[in-house]
Structure formats: C-alpha cells, structure tokens
C-alpha cells in the first residue's frame, strides 16, 4: 500500500498544480453541472441504461488520462476518499430508487392507462394535423419514455423531440402521478445527494484555495504567464 510522505512539495509544485488543474477543477465543474441538473429535479436518468447519465461517480469527472494524478491526490489527501465514496454510494442509491420507481410505474397500470388515453387523444388530433409526429412505432416504448420524463421531472420537451407535442397535451394528465408516495424514496435520495454534492464541492473549493495560497499557484492555469516565470 502506498504511504503518505511527510516531505512537503515546494512552491509552484508541478505535482500540486496537477492536482488542482487535472483533478480538483474537473471535479468541481462536474459537481456544479450535477447540482444544476438536480436543482431542476432533472436526474438525467435513462431507462435504457438504468442510470443517471450526466451525474457520475466522482472519478469519472476526471479524464482517464489524468487518473494517475487522481490516485496521487488521494494518497496524499486520504480524507477525501470517504467523501467521494459517500457521493458515489448516494448516487447508487439514487439510481436504485429511480430503477425501482420505473419498474413500479411501468407495471402499475396507472401509467399505461393514462399513456394510452393520452395517445388516443393525440392520434385524434393528428388526424386533422398531419404535421404531428407519428408515434405509432413507439407505442410499446411510450410508457417507458413517459416514466422517464416523470422521474426526471420533465415539464416540457424541446420542439424537435418526437414526443414533444404528445407530452405538451399529456403531461398535465400524467404529471400528477408524481404526487404518489412511491416517489418519496427518489425525492429522499435526491435531497441527500444534493446535500452531499454541495458539501463536497465546497470542501474541494476550500482545499483548492488552501493549496493555491500555500504553493502560490493560480486556481486555473494561465499558460503564457507561467511560461514566462
């Protein structure tokens, strides 16, 4: 097992710079993106992959070519290990809660019934407005897609999505399913992850500031300036 050494890196240490630029900054950016999605209630969960697509385990926010620097950072700063683990465990819990909710939604019958009646109304509308997209080929997938929209709290869809007009009409009829108690575990897991991600982002920002002060390094690289030194 690799041990933490007591010798401190010198000022302008390239090693500490690598931690800041290649490890900490991408993690902070990843956590910020994650929080932007979570604050909108959009978990970016997809039924095809059964996971949150844009909320990832911490290590995945770091480019794989920089993983040696990520592991080096953890060797010298092991206190972050448990925070990263807590984040990833909560993300797993969120993914599991979303998958369980999805299974309930698609098997409960409520959703299927509401999707079917909304689709019938849409098809009637389409009969007089041929510009509306044909969703016939998606009939079997539509309840799954609708469940995904509910899980991700999608209120409206962009016009270019094939189900955009369908969802415009159907969402008010279907969205109230979000009030069911079965959504509570998902809401709890989401709230937990938001709290953890906020704390982790703040800890990383504080750590970066500490390192910047201690090693006289800017928080982001300024290539031309550094080359002149």
């Amino acid at each position: 097992m690799v041990r933490k050494v007591t010798n401190q890196p010198k000022k302008h240490s390239q090693r500490v710079a690598a931690w800041i630029y290649a490890v900490i900054n991408p993690m902070i950016e990843g956590l910020q993106r994650e929080l932007d999605f979570l604050e909108r209630g959009n978990l970016t969960w997809r039924y095809l992959s059964q996971r949150c697509e844009f909320i990832r385990p911490i290590q995945e926010y770091v480019d794989s070519t920089q993983w040696p620097n990520y592991f080096d950072f953890l060797v010298e700063n092991p206190e972050f290990k448990k925070h990263f683990q807590a984040h990833d465990d909560n993300l797993n819990a969120l993914n599991n809660a979303a998958s369980a909710l999805f299974s309930w939604l698609v098997s409960s019958g409520f959703l299927e019934e509401r999707t079917r009646s909304s689709l019938e109304a849409y098809e009637s509308r389409r009969a007089v407005d041929p510009r509306l997209a044909d969703l016939g080929h998606m009939k079997s997938e539509l309840p799954k897609l609708v469940a995904e929209y509910l899980i991700n709290k999608i209120e409206t869809l962009p016009d270019h999505y094939v189900a955009s007009k369908f969802w415009e009409d159907a969402s008010s009829n279907i969205r109230e399913l979000r009030n069911q108690n079965n959504f509570q575990p998902l809401r709890d897991a989401q709230a937990k992850l938001v709290n953890l991600s906020v704390l982790l982002k703040t800890s990383l920002e504080d750590f970066r500031l500490g390192m910047s002060r201690k090693f006289d390094l800017p928080a982001a690289p300024i290539p031309d300036y550094l080359l002149k030194r």
């Binding site: 991408p26 950016e29 990843g30 910020q32 993106r33 932007d36 997809r46 095809l48 697509e53 844009f54 990832r56 995945e60 926010y61 480019d63 794989s64 041929p130 510009r131 997209a133 044909d134 080929h137 998606m138 869809l157 962009p158 016009d159 270019h160 999505y161 094939v162 189900a163 955009s164 007009k165």
Partner: protein
C-alpha cells in the same frame, strides 16, 4: 418564410454535418454546462436561434442523415471530448438521436456518381443522393455549405441554409 419548410409540404429533413454538429454543440454548451466549448459555436449564438431551429426540425415528420455525416460528427465530438468530460457529448448525442428518432440511410460510395464525389466529396454526395432517393417525401436538405446548397438547387432539390432557419 421564404424558404422550403414543412408548412409547404416537405416531409423529411436531411441533415448535413455542419448544422447537426452546431445543433449538438449548442446543447452541450447551454444545456450541459460545457461552457468552454462556446467559442467553437460558429453560427448559433442565442437561445432564440436554437429555438427557431428546434421548431423547424419539429415540423418535419422524418429526420434523417447518412452514416457519412455521422462519421464526420464523430470526428468533431471526439475532438471536443478531448477538452470535456469523457463520453458526455456522446451520451448527449445518443439522447438527441433517440428523442428525435433520427433515421440514417446508407448510400454506398460505389452507388454515388463518380464526378459528384470527385467535386464534392463522399459526405456531401451522400446527402445529395439521399435527397434524390427520397423524392416522394419532398425532402429538404439542411446545410451550412454554399456549394452544396447551390448544387441542390441546380439539381432541383430543396435545400435550406442554417443561417436562414435561425435568423429572424
């Protein structure tokens, strides 16, 4: 509007590389927080412009392209991903294709006219040939390239430039 659009009966929209990449890149920057890629946006700068494009696409029953175009977009994605979280733009692109139910149709190189390939390259020619093969659907080709736009018009194919779609 003074250009061919779905209101006038065109049912299929064929994407050339430029508009498709710009469409993906705009969403990567504005919806997925990859703000460092913003300088790469060449045509679409505002949400209003994106909204116009989104509505325009939404008016077509079929949205399609060729594997040649997808291969060119892959190149741009992979270039952008060197400066972005690995896989993020691909995940987003896959989502967009799925949600748009984007179709893809292969036009083999040896099925393309030799002279057109020589002058326009395989990608533009694949788009042109796809347009020709879909005549009953009255397709519209969406491009940013003046040369391809001109060629489409000379060949009697409907085409529109991205700048026209996203302008007021």
């Amino acid at each position: 509007m003074g250009f061919e659009n779905p209101l006038f009966g065109s049912k299929a929209l064929i994407f050339d590389t430029g508009p498709l990449w710009e469409f993906i890149l705009f969403q990567a920057v504005h919806d997925f927080g990859l703000a460092h890629l913003e300088p790469d946006l060449r045509h679409m700068k505002t949400k209003a412009q994106f909204q116009r494009l989104s509505s325009y696409i939404g008016g077509f029953r079929t949205r399609t392209t060729t594997p040649h175009v997808v291969a060119e977009v892959s190149y741009w994605i992979e270039k952008a991903e060197k400066r972005s979280p690995r896989g993020a733009i691909w995940r987003m692109t896959y989502d967009q294709f799925f949600q748009m139910q984007m179709d893809e149709r292969l036009i083999k190189l040896l099925d393309m006219p030799r002279e057109t390939v020589t002058n326009f390259g395989a990608t533009d020619t694949s788009v042109l040939e796809l347009g020709r093969s879909m005549t009953p659907d009255r397709p519209t080709i969406l491009t940013i390239e003046k040369a391809l736009f001109g060629k489409c018009h000379r060949e009697g194919l409907s085409a529109v430039q991205l700048a026209t779609v996203i302008s007021n």
